[in-house]
Amino acid sequence: MTDAALTTSLFDEAAVPVESPARRALRRLVHRKGAMFGLAVIALFVALALTAPLVSPYDPAAQSWTAVRKPPSAQHLFGTDDVGRDILARITFGARASLLAGVISVVIALAIGVPLGMTAGYIGGFLDAVISRLTDAMLAIPFLILAIALAAFLGPSLHNAMIAIGISTTPIFVRLTRGQVMAVKVEDYVEAARVVGNPPWRVALKHILPNILPSLMVQASLSIAAAIIAEAALSFLGLGQQPPAPSWGSMLNAAQRFLANAPWMAVWPGLAIFLTVVSFNLLGDGLRDALDPRER
């Protein structure tokens, strides 16, 4: 190639607008039907949770002895429960507890797990050894058992359930971040940033963190799904949201006693959990495919 030809081809390439990785990922995500379905359902539940007092047909705590265990009807679309409360209203308000628990516990896990994982992966040595063994130890206790034990010792409340689930989710993020940091820190651009004299914290925050963000986003979405199931499980066992405050898990617990004559009490909260969890899983899967640089 002559110099002139080389210059032209360089200019040609510069003339074509280059798509940023984030934009490409977004374009690919939009084309994934599953992920878009997930996103739509999540948006719907978030809207329901935010506007619950406006859209809910009844007060979720209002009991009515004249409307005990009524099957779905025009008046009560989802039926009523064992003390005559409207199930649709409780599902709508219950979305608050579930979504809040899902998001907050993952935020807790990210807030503890990412700095620990970055420290372990970037600094290495003795700190890495201690953090990694502690992570192994936490992963050796099955997720739900650890969450139950933590919630039991902290005391039953939605607040403590979120902390318990958050701490139980943390080791996944420590391990993921550590592995990603170790893979990224040997790249030339990180080396270059270090050589020009950037302090370690700056290299970590400005050069490494943005590059591991995609994997963290995928894991966060999948972890929210797991956290929502875990919160429902803890509330089902009586360790999460305390009655009479509505939560999908505790609604299922109450429903168990009335299966023979009021099965609708069990159908709706379960369906709500399933739909939310499936949506976060679909979004997580879609994000993973969209962010995978090998798939063009």
Binding site: D136, L144, A232, L237, P263, A266, G270, V277
Partner: protein, 313 residues
């Protein structure tokens, strides 16, 4: 192999140390004076003093920890505050029930997971593949306690085929035992089946594109022989490892399943002791679960090396 085993066992020591520290530290989360909380309704100063002495709560933390670990290492997991039974005896009584449930669940999970995984890989992008993927998504998104309740509604309340709750030992009545555990085992195995399906599908897709499968096809072997004898045999080795790990996860799932079906196993023990504020039992159960989980991990690792001659050197 021996070096690998030695190194792997050495790695366990710090992990086990941290597991014990975590479980011991749970006690520190109790709000207020642990002796008062553990005593519960009991306000008798004598009982509180006894608890304080039994757990050495008046001593510094490292000393408390040392005594606790010493007990654990000699097989003493403490005593239940409520029913005054040794935690070890409680665990030994409940564990076989959960193991029966877990064994049945893993058989169900392997059968469904492998069959669905192989089918979806062999018929990639077909209706079967699509259906198997939907099944996997369903498996990991359905809350097991909801599935359990719905199955009770269908098979016990509506059809009346199976008992809704309770447990019969296989030594008492084999078929009765099977009837009392088949629904919970299915609920428990459902999630594991989904995980196994995804792994089997991935491993089978890799195997079907490998050179030895191409060679087998080029030799003119029947597709059936290629799939079952050549591809599947190689694809299933990593899947068996995943199966061993899933068996550990089942212990976690058993907590909810046993609660729904009122099965007096390990999972129900932990929930009951949580509500009885029987903290020594909670700690003991968590410790045993972690030990079982770590052991299964170790077995899975060793099995993986054993079936992979390349890793054996």
């Amino acid at each position: 192999m021996l070096t690998f085993l030695g190194r792997r066992l050495l790695q366990l020591i710090p992990t086990l140390f941290f597991v014990s520290v975590i479980i011991f530290s749970l006690q520190q989360l109790l709000p207020g004076d642990p002796a008062l909380v553990m005593a519960g309704e009991e306000r008798d100063p004598e009982v509180i003093a006894q608890i304080r002495q039994q757990y050495r709560l008046d001593q510094p933390l490292p000393v408390q920890y040392a005594y606790w670990v010493k007990g654990v290492l000699s097989g003493d997991l403490g005593e239940s505050m409520r029913i005054k039974v040794k935690v070890r005896d409680l665990v030994l009584e409940k564990l076989p029930v959960t193991l029966q449930l877990a064994a049945m669940a893993i058989v169900i999970a392997l059968t469904i997971g492998i069959a669905a995984g192989v089918t979806s890989a062999v018929f990639k992008d077909s209706v079967w593949d699509y259906a198997a993927n939907v099944f996997a998504l369903w498996g990991r998104s359905t809350p097991s306690f909801w599935l359990g309740i719905m199955l009770i509604f269908l098979f016990s309340v509506e059809l009346g085929w199976l008992p809704a709750s309770g447990y019969v030992r296989p030594s008492e009545d084999f078929w009765g035992s099977l009837a009392s555990t088949i629904m919970p085992a299915f609920v428990l195995g459902n999630v594991a089946a989904a995980v196994l399906m995804r792994h089997t599908r991935g491993a089978m897709l890799d195997a079907l594109q490998s050179d030895y499968v191409r060679t087998a096809r080029a030799k003119g072997l029947l597709e059936r022989t290629v799939v079952f004898k050549h591809a599947m045999r190689n694809a299933l080795t990593p899947v068996i490892t995943v199966g061993a790990l899933e068996l550990g996860e089942l212990l976690s799932g058993a907590v909810l399943t046993e609660q729904i079906f009122s099965i007096p196993g390990f999972g129900k023990l932990i929930v009951d002791s949580v509500f009885n504020r029987d903290y020594a039992v909670v700690q003991g159960v968590v410790l045993v679960t972690a030990t079982v989980y770590i052991t299964l991990n170790l077995i899975a690792d060793i099995a993986y090396v054993l079936v992979n001659p390349r890793l054996r050197a």
